[in-house]
Each structure stands twice: as structure tokens, then as C-alpha cells.
Amino acid sequence: MSHPHIHITDRPIDTDLVISLVALPSQGGLNVFIGNVRDQTKGKAVLRLEYEAYVPMALSEMNKIAQTTKEQWPQAEIAIYHRVGTLKIGEAAVVIAVSTPHRAQAFAACQFAIDTLKVSVPIWKKEVFEDGEVWVAAHP
């Protein structure tokens, strides 16, 4: 079953919108992770990033993250937005918002979600430098 607050988009992510999806009156703690494009990697200037996704499988894996989060923290509400396409420095590649009745669970669940996304969701980024480009993590 598809989770309503999981999206892959080629438009800039509206952080306020993602937050609003989980901001319920019963939830006192809300934690948000935003992954932004950095201006350098190991000291080398990055011009832009290009993200691509195996969309249907990426959505399926993001759904699994939402389900597992719900199993581990039954009161958690979660929203996950991931951007694809060409991103400029400072733009958000991913925004994850988690709300829970109390704050400790919101931190733990949000960290679980981004840590899992980083290893399980088929999305790839290519860093573009002045003198070339590199698929991140592709080579040892």
C-alpha cells in the first residue's frame, strides 16, 4: 500500500509543505532532516549535482522505510520527499519530517529514516566539477 506523504519530484522541495503533512495537534515533537547540496567534496569545488532515480523501486523502498518507521514508532507520522534532476549548490535533495507525541522518538525515527534511505533507495547522484564528473560512491 502506498504511503500518502512519499514523493519523488523534479521541482524544488517545499520544506514547509513537508513539515505541514506531519504537524498534527497530537504530536508535540517534530524533527526534520534536510540534505542540501554542498559546495565541495574533499576540498574540490562542486558546480552542481545531478540526481536520478529508479522511480518505481525508489518509491517502493521509501514506502518500506515509512512502514518500518511506523512499526518501530507506532505513533510516528512521516513524510519523505526526494528531489531528482539537476540541483544547484544549497538546494535540498531530500527532506524528511517525522512527528511523534514526544521529542526523543521524533529524532530517533527521523535518523533511522535518512540512514536507511541512504543505503536502500535506488537514487544516484553525480557530482559535476569544473574538470569532470563523478558518480558518488560508485568506486571504492
Partner: protein, 80 residues
């Protein structure tokens, strides 16, 4: 069996296409299929690793490929 294989990230660069069609005649287990790819595209051996997805799920050890499956190469992911 005839297979369509989807390619992403660096595997697309290695193969030079987004999608290939193969007439695969080897054993149907995922390990044999991977070996065939590594033999056909030696640059795959230089990757940190790569996985195979069958019908949008990571293939499990020993899993079989069947005609009509949606097969995809999953090089090391780097989302977020």
C-alpha cells in the same frame, strides 16, 4: 530467455544505454547472471559493488530470473 535490463547511474555510463535487451542462456540464478554481466562488461568489476533488482525488489541470494521479469542493475546508491 529474452531479458530487458534497465541501467542506472554508472552502469548506464558503462553500458552506454538506458536499457538493453539480452538473450540470456545461462543458469537462471542471480549469481550466474551477475557473472555474465561482469564478463560482458569488465568495468563492472571496478565498482564498489552492484546489485540486481528483480521486479523492483533487491534480488535475494540464489533467486531465479524468469522471462518477463523487470531486471535492473543497481550500482552503489547515493541518494540524500
Amino acid at each position: 530467455m529474452k531479458l530487458q535490463i534497465l541501467l542506472f547511474g554508472i552502469t548506464r555510463d558503462i553500458v552506454g544505454q538506458q536499457k538493453i535487451e539480452l538473450d540470456y542462456t545461462g543458469p537462471s540464478d542471480i549469481e550466474s547472471f551477475k557473472e555474465m554481466l561482469q564478463h560482458k562488461y569488465p568495468e563492472m568489476n571496478q565498482l564498489s559493488h552492484f546489485k540486481i533488482a528483480i521486479n523492483q525488489e533487491f534480488a535475494q541470494e540464489g533467486q531465479s530470473i524468469n522471462e518477463g521479469d523487470e531486471i535492473a542493475l543497481i550500482p552503489p546508491v547515493s541518494g540524500g
